[in-house]
Symmetry: C2
Subunit: 238 residues, 2 copies
Amino acid sequence: MGPNGYTKEPRGNRLAPASAVAVDVALFTIQDASLRVLLVKRGAPPFRGAWSLPGGFVRRDESVDEAALRELQEETSIRTVYLEQLYTFGELDRDPRGRVISVSYYAVVHQERSRISAGQQIAGAKWFAVHRLPALAFDHREIVHAALERLRNKVNYTSVAFQLLPKKFALSELQRAYEVILGQRLDKRNFRKKMLQLGMLRDTHEQRAEGRQRPARLYAFPEARVIKLQEKGIIVPF
Amino acid sequence: MGPNGYTKEPRGNRLAPASAVAVDVALFTIQDASLRVLLVKRGAPPFRGAWSLPGGFVRRDESVDEAALRELQEETSIRTVYLEQLYTFGELDRDPRGRVISVSYYAVVHQERSRISAGQQIAGAKWFAVHRLPALAFDHREIVHAALERLRNKVNYTSVAFQLLPKKFALSELQRAYEVILGQRLDKRNFRKKMLQLGMLRDTHEQRAEGRQRPARLYAFPEARVIKLQEKGIIVPF
DNA sequence: TCAAAAGTGTTTCCCCTACACCCATGG
DNA sequence: CCATGGGTGTAGGGGAAACACTTTTGA
């Protein structure tokens, strides 16, 4: 790399301008019946003391996806997450210090893992309810909103929602996850009908008694990966 | 910017590694009843002589969106297009010369404008039918496929398809556009019914006689921008 | 026996689909 | 008058939505 921000890795034979490339990750989980994002407190200017998404610069020896995963792990010690690229923010003025292009991601972990990380969590990292966000650094509010919109869409025709649940879960848990993501109540009978109609849920023949009520039947979702469930919208009509 | 690819525009107080950031644009149009992408012939290694998407490096004084638009205009002299960011490709080995992160876009122009550009076109730029692509440089085949998928999706619930047509058009033209994008025949009566049900088409009360057949009624789509048409899928059930 | 959540079917309505013939024009 | 695309309606089926009561358990 030469002086003045030009690198010798051109397309053609011209010199290629270099930019600082960062990743920012909106990590979602469900806690206490609300959808939450992980935020970290900035220790250095600009926006010192403000909350921001976990993130940092992409290194020269890692792919952008790897950088997103690394940043997440440094902040949370969470290993298994669903991580998906969202959008690349490339406005000139988005970082007061100069030109930083940010590739944003969103990620999803289930309750247990997020609680573990809450225990081991680095000082200054905290879960916030998505509808009660503090002021955020940079354009991170925009990123959270884009991530939420994407998640709300994807929940309709993919199996992302299962990423928010433990391996074995009751249908009512699943419904609550959908309700929390979509921000609306769903009809219990229709919800169960549709979910069971998918033919993807495995009945574990186990039950879980939780308090003084009828025990819930536990199901498992056999695919570890996030898959397309249907062509049509599943819960909220598209 | 310092030596060895590190810049002084950090997040925190650490040095930020710099990367070469490029944009690549898949520009679509309809010509001769087929969906086409604009490709340019590479004049320099690597992939010298191979076809690739129009693109190039992002400059320090422009946003990433601006870079995409600029590259498109340098190649085509087209001014008005619908341009949408697609995905950021950040694998380490995607460019044989080293680390280049590419922010990909897709764009859509209507027939007339694309023909104008075909006339004024820079040597070595050519429209290719999307199902008859030559070997492409870098991961550009992947980008074209991602763009196509996005376009096929968006056509269902937004007004992108109108970007492929002139201001005044017959319903049969519109249907042909949908068919060409989706790669399937559609029922004429159902198509017209749905389009007119949207309540978005303005009847211009003009007709166009084209050959020895009944003249077609011309419609206009009043929104210049691409908008959401419906929650549910419009043409192909979602 | 009661509180609290689990579990279970049916009817209605609307939208999507399939499908075939007449119309207006230029040659 | 004929070839070519323009233009039109309806019936049937399937999926979505609305809706209320019984079951099981622990306290």
